[in-house]
Symmetry: C2
Subunit: 418 residues, 2 copies
């Protein structure tokens, strides 16, 4: 059976295939970059128009109550919670990942310092997404090294590096470059035995893998809604705090009025709201939050295990095609093969990765490049089918067969990025 | 001449009257709440549809370069700069006021502590907008009282309270409750003589009064785009930092990747970008930023002195009608009468303010209430004319003549809020 014939059969049997019609994928394109920016869904566009014209346009200021704008961070959080294996009262949708990480990190450190003021190390991985490391460095400069000191190790050394000097372990579940997935449950078990709190960045997990924050006993998490959750470019992020910590009267320095127990009492003293609400700071953008909220509707009824299984199957289908081709030896796979050790992306190293990526884009296959030499392919099962993969692979085959990637216009830039 | 006849003549002579057609003000409504949430403008709605359908929808991830999404915080800042009396390289549009205030406050304190580590007082006013005070309290809790201590005085005592123990004065130019405008230039002169840095919250100034950040020698500022700038509910805020400070290698703890010198190099160490860019943290919402950017276009070519003059004239027109009416003695005016001492709102105290506000809204006049007893009226000259004021005043006259505000449904709540 031809590759395409197999793809058609797999698509016909795919229980998630119908979701594709919800998305505005441009005709003729295969979009393998949903791990960077999720596409526009039709219901998102419709809801945006409604909020613009009917709510902001017609009802104006009254919409804060009439259309419950004021509750949007918690309403979106409720939709998110079921994708993250937790409850609505432990999640908030607001601000950026960076800002939310600042909140949960300072909060976690303050919690540790109540009983152990000398625990100051924040352990993370060398290849964690840089903004996470920058934020720790910012906290470190702000509070001083005695309160917060960043220590970096290789992913493989993480468990072996845990010790009682460590206050917080900060990891990203699925690595943005390699697509490798860490065993967060195991990390939490080891960390907790040593009194360490665990903060997980779910940027490449939420909407992609079956996250189980409560079962894994994660302490804090942050994540992104503009990748696998399709909330729009730069969409508001989310944060999670375990209930057992929320009950400890947590503090975080970004004490804005929306996190106040009575925001509209306009009293001069800050009194934090009960529960997760105290992690809100300023007024959230209703336009940005609306897109997230509408995008999350598409996950209603979707089983995350099933979704991730499809992502793995689609990725495997691509990997198999590549491995069986004459190009196999040119690519070095970075992503583990084990299903339990990866998210929904595959990364390959290739000396001409940048130029290949550009040549693929010219052919309508939107892939991603990460310096110095990584081709990054996102397999986002809400809107990708197996036949898309055949199209993507055939495009790659054409690019390499015709040596399109050796075009000087791309090679010139290839030289700059490597 | 009747009030309405005078209004018609004033409207006919108003050089800004044509701007009204740009806004989607619902038919039959007089919107006096643009100081809380600016209305939707038609070009904003059009640009949102374009960004949704054509940019996000069609060009997807490529839009970051193709449509310069990556530069949006600076592009909007350039449009803002001319409204604030400064240059594009000293302004950024991003995050919320609360988060931006955290950045500039920690930055200002760090700058002071380089030479005078014992200056720890942040002086503000008792009736400043609460989120500003909450954020100072947050910084204080995390850095300790030795580094940051909030001291509150009455607005009238501000100049007399300046001393060499004070590191930073934090004020809001136009008070959210009373509408009173402070003399920021004079404050800066007095503060600078004592080595104090001045942070100004422009939430009720930007787009309303002729702000002159550079001429006044303001050190730092933050402000809001969802009131007089019509950027949409909860729209991204802005921040300003004077060039003379930007040259001092400023630090702020919210070190996110968008503020890195090379965000896409993905290196593990934070290296701040040159200039104002280092005040960026996480990825900005492009949908939210688009609305702000499009809304700012409406100010192109508008002279801020002229705009504020119109706001004052419209407000005076209302005040005169009220003062000449039989209701004059029922209302106590909070807002100063002097033009130099106010922004674009009038506030009146009335024992039934809440119920009057509700009865006005029922008649299509959207006013605002602030506890315990303030009726707050915003005079936003981009889309309000003098005849609107006649309509608003006639509605007020009807409400009071018919005792509509004594309706039990509003009185019940009136009892709760006072």
């Amino acid at each position: 059976m031809s590759l395409r014939q197999r793809a058609k059969e797999l698509d016909a049997a795919d229980p998630l295939a119908h979701l594709r019609t919800q998305f505005a994928i441009p005709a003729g394109k295969v979009y393998l970059d949903g791990n960077s920016l999720g596409p526009l869904a039709h219901p998102v566009r419709e809801r945006m128009q409604q909020v613009l014209a009917e709510q902001w346009g017609e009802d104006l200021i009254e919409s804060w109550n009439k259309h419950s704008w004021i509750d949007l961070p918690q309403r979106s959080a409720a939709r998110l919670a079921h994708l993250l294996g937790t409850q609505a009262d432990q999640v908030l949708c607001c601000d950026s990942i960076s800002v939310n990480l600042f909140k949960v990190l300072t909060s976690a450190l303050e919690l540790q310092h109540r009983t152990e003021p000398t625990r100051n190390v924040v352990l993370s991985t060398q290849d964690n997404f840089p903004t996470d490391l920058y934020m720790v460095q910012g906290v470190s400069e702000f509070l001083g090294q005695h309160a917060c000191q960043l220590q970096l190790v290789e992913e493989e050394q993480l468990l072996a590096s845990l010790s009682e000097e460590i206050a917080v372990v900060l990891v990203t579940e699925v690595n943005f470059r390699s697509g490798r997935r860490l065993d967060i449950e195991k990390l939490c078990q080891h960390a907790h035995q040593l009194g360490i709190l665990v903060i997980v960045d779910l940027a490449h997990s939420a909407g992609s893998v079956a996250v189980e924050l409560e079962r894994w006993q994660v302490d804090f998490a942050v994540g992104c809604t503009y990748k696998y959750l399709n909330g729009g470019p730069g969409a508001p992020a989310f944060l999670y705090c375990a209930k057992r910590h929320l009950e400890q009267n947590l503090k975080q320095p970004l004490q804005g009025w929306m996190g106040h127990a009575e925001p509209f009492a306009f009293t001069p003293d800050y009194v934090p709201a009960e529960g997760i609400q105290r992690f809100l700071s300023g007024t959230p953008s209703i336009l940005a939050m609306t897109a997230v909220d509408a995008a999350l509707d598409l996950f209603a009824g979707v089983d995350m295990q099933q979704l991730h299984q499809k992502a793995l199957a689609v990725a495997d289908f691509f990997a198999e095609a590549l491995e069986n081709s004459r190009w196999a030896t040119e690519f070095t796979r970075l992503t583990p093969t084990q299903h339990s050790e990866r998210g929904s992306q595959l990364s390959y190293s290739h000396p001409h990765a940048y130029a290949i990526c550009q040549a693929l884009i010219a052919r309508g296959v939107i892939a991603d490049f990460r310096a110095p030499s990584y081709l990054r392919l996102g397999f986002t099962p809400l809107y990708l089918g197996f036949e898309d993969i055949v199209n993507a692979f055939e495009a790659l085959d054409q690019v390499l067969s015709n040596a399109e990637h050796l075009d000087p216009k791309w090679q010139k830039l290839q030289g700059k990025v490597t």
